[in-house]
Each structure stands twice: as C-alpha cells, then as structure tokens.
Symmetry: C2
Subunit: 190 residues, 2 copies
C-alpha cells in the first residue's frame, strides 16, 4: 500500500456494514476473514513442528500452516504449506479442527496428516523442523494458542478413524483472547 | 469500485505471485478465498431450504448460508445466516462438511443443525422457506452443486454422533466444474 493511500470507513449502497473504502479511487476493500490451512503431521506418534524464521513469533514452534491461496482446495493448501515450511510430502486423513480466531479474522482448517514419504527439512520460512514425542513438545515455546489447541485435539484422536472436527476450545470459544508473549506484547496471527 | 479505478497484476516485492494492484494508489487487493458458512437445518427428518430472492440463481433452492463477516466465528456466522435468510434460530451439532470451490475461491463450512425454537419465515433474501422430506427435495431446482453435496452428506449422517467432516465429493474434488444453468450460462457462487 503506498503512503498516499487514504482509506475511509463508510457503508456502501445496498450494504449494512461499514467497509474500508479508498477515498481517492472508490475501491472497496472488503475485509473478509482469511483461511489458514495447516496440519498436525505425525509419524510413529511423533508430531512435526517448525521453528519460525519469520515474524510474528520468530523462533517459536508452529505447525506447517499458512494462508490458503486462490485456486486451491483446503487440502491442496495444507499440502503446499507442509512442503514450503517443512519440505514434507504429506497424506491427509481429514479435518481435525476448524478454529475461528475472530480477533484477527481467521478461520483455520487443520488436518490430521501423515508423512507420505520419509524426510523433511527446513523450508525458507523455518529455522528448523523436528519431530517431537508428546512429552517433549516445547509448550513454552509454541508460537500461537491454536497450535496448542490443534496438538491437544490430535492427542485426543491421534489414531483410528477420525472423529468429528472440533471447534475452538471452551477457554477461548471465539478466538478473541490476546496471546501474551513471554517476552513482550500480545502477538497476532497463526 | 469507481469507474476510474485501474488495476494491474504484478508481483509485489517479497511475494511470489501476481496480485491485483491499484495502478493509481499502489493498494494491493489480496484476493484471498472467502469463507461461506451455512447449515443443513433439520427437524423431524425434514430439511429446511430457502428459495433465493436474489441473483445468482434467484428462484432456486439453497441452504441458509452466506459469507462469514469479520469478527465472527464460523458458528456465529452460520447462526446469523439462518436468521437472516430463514428467520430460524438454530443449534449446531458440528461441522458436516468443508467444501472447496476453487473455481471461485470459496471455502464452505457447512454445519449439521437443528431448529433451536419452532418457527421460520422468509428473510429479505428469500422468496420462501420450507421444510422438505428427503423424497420431496426439488433436486432440479437446487441453486448450487454444493447444496446437493451437503444434503447428501446430511442424508448419510442425519442422526447420531457426527462423523468426520467430509470434503468435496469425488465428482468435483476441486470445485472447478462449472455449473450449467438449465436456462443459460454457468452460474457462480454458493
């Protein structure tokens, strides 16, 4: 966005909500929630996590996940992110969770997945990629609350037929609680 | 969008895809997939359908569904749409299906739901709202393929514990098949 862009909030004709509108050209920037797709990728009861090389939450551990792009299915997006962030080829079992992070306008579709081929490595957005046994997961260095939620959901249904997809846990049913960083202000995003 | 807005496609610095960019002000209009939320609302083995009062597919039958708004959870959005389109108060069982319509950049999160209170009526975007027994569903007048998919998914899991959420059916695994209208060109949308 150039420094000269001026946006104003007004209700377009025929609408019932304020929308962000370019004061100069009239373009309406509909701010719709964005879709994040990701996976809990397991092999022999160990889960794959990526240590983030980028902000927000650089240095913290996350699932391979990111924004769905136009023209992709949710399954394709989850597989692309596993490749981009963890150089992992994955097979999807199905939808483990659908999380709403209302505070930042995200819907996260999280799959239960397995490595389709052996091997993984850090992609450009990761410092390192590792598999963790449940008892070794670095809970204090997890990047976002929804990563914790997804790991717990996976733990409750790590093998066998996939159960019904879970929604947000009761502790943050709307995804509106700010996440406190151990070392500073609340962090946004998955 | 004003008649004077000029958009060009170029790859922003640090990105790897072309994005729609305002040639005048530099604003990048990220075109992310949008989230549609909706429900198969059942009462006594009959499903609630709305006859659309708006294009596309005016006059055809659909589920209560629509675009998720910022600040909503997927559950809240589905309940809002049931009220707006069918004046129905609904209780959600859980996620029945997650459909990708890659052709038009939609992710549809469809719930299995029940009427939480008796009563329903046409909202402003519906011509009429009715409950249909399975054998009375007007299949030839269904608005969109994903409505058929959701009804079939509901039929396969209409009662009892909710199973794993389904994805697109094999007949259109990516949501890329254009829908032929009986009376004209392919129609877009949910």
């Amino acid at each position: 966005m150039s420094e000269t862009t001026r946006f104003v909030r007004r209700i377009p004709e025929g609408d019932d909500r304020e929308r962000l509108t370019c004061a100069d050209c009239g373009f309406i920037a509909y701010e719709n929630p964005k879709v994040v797709v990701g996976s809990v990728v397991a092999a022999e009861a160990r889960v794959l996590l990526c240590r983030r090389a980028i902000e927000p939450r650089s240095g913290f551990w996350t699932l391979p996940a990111g924004y769905l792009e136009m023209g992709e299915t949710v399954a394709e997006g989850a597989q692309r992110e596993a490749w981009e962030e963890a150089r992992a080829r994955i097979a999807l079992d199905g939808v483990l969770a659908v999380y709403s992070i209302a505070r930042i306008g995200q819907v996260q579709v999280i799959f239960r997945a397995r490595l389709a081929e052996p091997g993984f490595a850090a992609g450009p957005e990761s410092l390192e990629v590792r598999q963790f046994a449940w008892e070794d997961i670095p809970w204090e260095q997890i990047a976002f609350p929804s990563v914790r939620w997804a790991l717990r959901a996976w733990r409750a249904a790590s093998a066998g037929p996939l159960p019904a997809a879970v929604l947000n846990p009761a502790e943050d049913a709307r995804g509106t609680r700010p996440m406190m960083r151990p070392d500073g202000p609340p962090a946004a995003g998955l």
